[in-house]
Subunit: 209 residues, 2 copies
């Protein structure tokens, strides 16, 4: 005899628990990677940090590659969704540009991007990992670019807009790297204020042309 169906009311909590476990592992993987880097972020170490048994962790993510790539993808999607939610609250005019730059800065100087730097560097000397990271990077990069356009409220079919937005994201990446070893926030604040005024002028110029 097969086991009786527990019914949707009982099946649901088990799926919820599995989802919650998965989520704890993904978040712990980002924290771990940001703090101790690639070599210290094994599935066992991340499982312990997440308060999940090693067996359960390996059931969700058989290898460190699977865990870390899923973590960067999941947390990136979550951050981008949060940014999108705030789009409606943004001020208009030059203040909007500064607000968007602050949002981008916040995303790039936090643990997610720190984790991503560790992943990239590990992938640069590991051919198999490199292939997988390139696919993920292209996908997250495209979506980040789209979100930045939405937040700024600009049209990238206008000449120069696409490149100015890309330069903003490249600059944020460079500032994240400068923040890796010490707190660079005071210098960064001045650089970003100047950048906001340059971006404002460039977008105004582009829309006139």
């Amino acid at each position: 005899m097969s086991e009786p169906d527990p019914g949707p009311g009982l099946r649901e909590p088990r799926q919820d628990r599995s989802r919650a476990t998965r989520r704890r592992l993904l978040e712990a993987a980002i924290e771990c990677l940001a703090e101790v880097g690639w070599s210290g972020s094994t599935v066992a170490v991340v499982a312990e940090r997440a308060g999940v048994s090693r067996g359960a962790a390996q059931h969700h993510f058989p290898t460190r590659e699977d865990l870390v790539l899923s973590a960067v993808e999941f947390v990136s999607q979550e951050r981008l969704a949060q940014l999108r939610e705030h789009a409606a609250d943004l001020p208009t005019g030059p203040e909007r540009i500064r607000a968007v730059i602050d949002m981008v800065e916040h995303m790039y100087t936090g643990p997610l991007f720190r984790a991503a730097i560790h992943l990239w560097v590990a992938a640069s000397s590991d051919e198999r990992l490199r292939e997988r990271v390139l696919v993920l990077e292209a996908q997250v990069g495209r979506e980040t670019h789209r979100v930045a356009l939405e937040l700024l409220g600009v049209d990238e079919s206008v000449a120069g807009v696409r490149e100015a937005v890309q330069a903003t994201l490249d600059l944020a990446r460079g500032l994240a790297l400068a923040n890796l070893l010490s707190d660079d926030s005071r210098r960064r604040e001045r650089v970003l204020r100047q950048w906001a005024s340059m971006l404002d002028a460039a977008l105004a110029e582009a829309s006139k042309a």
Copy 2:
């Protein structure tokens, strides 16, 4: 009896040989770090690449930290000196900005900066290395900033100039990171063209104010 003085004519070649050995080790360390990263760049591996015995390498550089930090310092100084030499040949006007941005891009997307990224990431999870890298980074960072000002021929006492030049170097760092896993040169070319026109406008604006 003490050994007879070999005279300057004979002592010189030995000093030259030692200097040449040191230089080969420093250059090999940058190549090695850029290609295989921190964990693969031991003194023994670098010595082999440089064609120097392990004993001789360890005489010059007792530890990997000594070797890699000396290499990043030496090669950075050399590149900055080369940039300075070209300052006199630079065109004037907006073409000068584009020429300087190309020089900065060339410095940041080559093996030296790739090696520096590996060093930074290794230092981010090694407290002792971190302290030494921060001292080196501050020194090289200051000199790079000074060379960029000289090449652009701008005065950083004018409001906004300092930050615009810093943003240029931060952008170059971000572009270097984007180039770590795949050839990003086509996209980078478009971003830098846009950046040159934004920097040109910002520097012109600053000098008017």
